[in-house]
Symmetry: C2
Subunit: 153 residues, 2 copies
Amino acid sequence: VAATPLQPLSDKEQRAWRALARAFTILPRTLDTSLVGAGRMSLAEYGVLSNLSEAPGWRLRMSDLAAIRNVTPAGMTRLVDRLVACGLVERCKCVDDGRGAFAVLTEAGFARLEEAYPTHLESVRRHVVDHIEEGDLDTFIEVMEKISRSAEG
Amino acid sequence: VAATPLQPLSDKEQRAWRALARAFTILPRTLDTSLVGAGRMSLAEYGVLSNLSEAPGWRLRMSDLAAIRNVTPAGMTRLVDRLVACGLVERCKCVDDGRGAFAVLTEAGFARLEEAYPTHLESVRRHVVDHIEEGDLDTFIEVMEKISRSAEG
DNA sequence: CAAGATTGAGCTCTCAATCTTG
DNA sequence: CAAGATTGAGAGCTCAATCTTG
């Protein structure tokens, strides 16, 4: 079997790719804006607080946090710097491993998360989830997870 | 009829949203990296060259270009600055309207676009289009276009 | 030396202000 | 004054280099 030559995208494929690219550009900005209004924080900051709130002890290692949120270690250092400056997160040296550091959610951070949550949830529903039919959810999940895995491989 | 109280996301909805968010973070970086390798330009720069190559006279107004690519006018000015510095685009004053300016694709810009095209196409196929079943394309397009329209409304 | 975290330098975007033309 | 484009200032990320600990 010969190698397949590179096929240009069909009309539908083209349209699918462009729609995805457009959503990639616009949606994060829209969600970010609504979050800035609702909770005085960015989408990236909300994500960190959200992951911390779900972690045991409200704490995660910097490196784990960076991996979960798909930013570089340097980027996570700066992000947590800002959250610390706002009093929403505290840094805590790791006892087991002197090289490590934890980011720990504060009460103020949890309160801020709760404050932002309803508006953020409403945004995600209105701009994303509400546009996916119940019956298409499984397919949507499968496609998006495949895309993610493929892109990070 | 009473207002619907805000429902938390179901497990599937949660998973769909997280998969989308993850793809949004990772995919642009992956495509950008492959494009930097293939054509010595960013994904944003490729997009501009691509739109110019499809436009009559290989030219578009700065404001139209900014709208098409969903960046601010200021952002488009900087982006085109870079492309002009590389010789891939030229600026051209608008005759009809002295306030306006065109960005015009150069021969070198078109050549660079052709150079980058195969690798970019391969990336888009491999990381995006290949993960969508033929029969799911219409639904995918519909969902993504709805999300885009909703987010920009 | 390797790993975790941070710091320095630089890039690319944004918002707000400005310049020019209608 | 309104619209199109640019410029100044600043935010937030990246890569590469550094510091500290295992």
